[in-house]
């Protein structure tokens, strides 16, 4: 076995579990927003759909796509963090995830709020993969903007 131990920081068990068994990946019928993003550098793809209730808060989410373990697990982890949030709440979460990836200080309370996604924090030690981790989140940011504009 060659020196693969250093990889564990990037590929936490929970990350690979989300990659292999993506949560909430079934497409929604008549979503409020439906966004497709891709990383032209590597070809990874993410499709994100949201439904909102009368209060403007997220009531259903779907993330599907294809790509590496980091981009796809990040999309799956995202689906566990958006329920019940309005556009401002979504923006707040996107900002927090960006800070986590950039290596900015993140408080314990903020880390708790990110739940299992904190397992992706090892990505910041692999700068070229940060883009992979943020692909789904760029879709969520776009989705939040559309919700604000009162899409459909």
């Amino acid at each position: 076995m060659q020196s693969l131990e250093g990889l564990d920081e990037l590929y936490e068990q929970i990350v690979l579990d989300h990659y292999r068994n993506p949560r909430h990946s079934d497409l929604l019928t008549s979503p409020a927003v439906d966004i497709e993003v891709n990383n032209p550098f590597c070809g990874d793809e993410i499709r994100l759909q949201l439904k909102t209730g009368d209060d403007g808060r997220v009531s259903a989410v779907s993330v599907a796509g294809r790509g590496c373990a980091i981009s796809q697990s990040s999309g799956s982890l995202l689906t566990e963090l958006v329920h019940g949030k309005d556009a401002a709440g979504l923006h707040g979460t996107v900002t927090l995830v960006r800070r986590l990836m950039k290596g900015d200080p993140v408080s314990e309370a903020e880390m708790d709020a990110l739940g299992d996604l904190s397992a992706l924090s090892g990505v910041r030690k692999f700068p070229v993969r940060i883009k992979c981790a943020l692909l789904a989140w760029s879709a969520l940011e776009e989705a939040a903007e559309k919700l604000e504009q009162g899409a459909k």
């Binding site: 060659q2 990037l10 068990q13 590597c42 070809g43 990874d44 790509g67 590496c68 993969r129």
Partner: protein, 426 residues
């Protein structure tokens, strides 16, 4: 096929003819680099090759000893710089057997060379209802310029399909190339499949209908003997950085009579013979296509790269790459869950292997190999339509060059086994 023996080549017990890599590796300082605690194993040569000391030194020499602008003034440094710069152009011309150095244009890279043809020749010669025929395995740089030209002119781009074995479907090619075809543009060697395309045959088919033939030599000129007269092509485009040379410089070869009739596509200093306030007359070939102060240092270094490859002998380089490619194909057979793209017959391909795994994504494989100091390429390889046509979004690629060894391929195979095992266990 026989090759002139260079002092750098030797026979091997495994049957192939390999270069004397121990000797060659000593010329490449970067190959001593440690990556993640391991000695670098560089298998991303189709993206860019490493540079021998001789080439690096030629850039230092120019800047330290005779840095001056070319084609200007009578002072000693300018004369020396001009001489070495123009000698580099002659070396490139001899390297591809161009009839004259006047048909060798310096560009920034292969992409710029192809764009030069698209604008300068294409805008004047392609009209509404005409077509340009290229291939389904092409690099984006030999697709997008033609799509844009077709859009400007109301013309059509046609793609020669790729068969199951990774070869062009030449029967379809004969039908696609018709009386309205103005240009056939094809890569000589595929950067994804490794396929060597019959560009000489395509040139014959193109010429039979009055079309011109452009060969994208980005992957072939660094690796095999390429003779523009034997191929019968009208244009050949390639980059220096994949053949031991520096980045930022490429070459367009064009048939002299064709380029004499072409208009410049960039205007400014050096490309004119006379300027008045009313207008200008164009300079002769090759300067008509080289506006402004050229990339002197990198042109000189390209000459040094050609010297280095000439010393090895391109026949020997090709034999080495084919031997490594064949060895890698053989070793990949023992890897379960890995699938190799392109021709099964090693005789039909060069020294690269693209592959994918049943479940582990190429990026994750590449990341694991990087931990072992092994550099491979992962992604769509600037050939999105081709890679997607295989039902995948990305592939991994190991590409070999003059300094790579069978032992490095063994390390790659071991590394892939370990990487697949790592992800399977977790």
């Amino acid at each position: 096929m026989t090759h002139a023996r260079s002092k750098y080549s030797r026979g091997t017990p495994s049957g192939g003819t390999l270069l004397d890599t121990a000797r060659i590796r000593a010329d490449f300082p970067i190959l001593n680099r440690q990556v993640n605690g391991r000695t670098l194993i560089y298998l991303d040569n189709a993206a860019t090759s490493q540079k021998p000391r001789h080439v690096i030194q030629s850039i230092v020499d120019y800047y330290e000893r005779y840095n001056a602008n070319v084609h200007r003034g009578v002072h000693t440094l300018s004369v020396e710089a001009t001489d070495v710069y123009e000698e580099a152009r002659r070396k490139v011309a001899r390297f591809i057997n161009a009839p004259s150095e006047k048909s060798v244009i310096w560009t920034r890279n292969t992409s710029e060379a192809i764009n030069l043809i698209a604008y300068s020749w294409g805008d004047a010669n392609v009209g509404e209802g005409d077509n340009i025929v290229t291939t389904a395995m092409e690099h984006h740089s030999d697709i997008v310029p033609w799509q844009q030209l077709a859009r400007r002119k109301g013309a059509q781009v046609r793609y020669i399909p790729v068969g199951r074995q990774g070869a062009l479907d030449m029967a379809v090619a004969r039908n696609l190339i018709d009386r309205r075809t103005k240009l056939v543009a094809a890569m000589h060697a595929s950067n994804v499949l490794g396929t060597i395309n019959p560009v000489g045959e395509l040139a014959l088919i193109a010429h039979a209908v009055g079309a011109l033939m452009l060969v994208d030599g980005a992957q072939s000129v660094p690796s095999m003997p390429v003779d523009v007269q034997a191929l019968g092509c009208d244009f050949l485009a390639f980059s220096a950085h994949k053949m031991c040379g520096p980045t930022g410089i490429g070459v367009l070869y064009g048939r002299e009579d064709v380029m004499e009739r072409m208009q410049p596509w960039m205007f400014g200093g050096d490309m004119i013979s006379e300027v008045t306030y009313e207008g200008a007359k164009w300079n002769d070939l090759p300067y008509k296509f080289e506006a402004g102060t050229p990339n002197i240092a990198d042109a000189i270094a390209t000459g040094a790269a050609v010297d280095y490859l000439d010393e090895l002998g391109m026949g020997n380089v090709w034999a080495h790459e084919q031997a490594l490619g064949a060895y890698a194909l053989e070793r990949f057979k023992e890897l379960e869950e890995f699938h190799v793209m392109g021709p099964r017959d090693p005789g039909l391909r060069g020294g690269l292997v693209s592959f994918f795994h049943d479940t582990v994504h190429p990026h994750d494989l590449g990341q694991a190999l990087d931990r072992m100091g092994i550099a491979i390429r992962t992604g769509h390889h600037c050939a999105m339509p081709l890679v997607r046509g295989h039902g995948i979004a990305a592939a991994a690629r190991a590409s070999f060059y003059i300094y790579n060894t069978e032992a490095e391929i063994d390390a790659l195979i071991d590394g892939l086994k370990d990487a697949a095992g790592y992800f399977a266990r977790k």
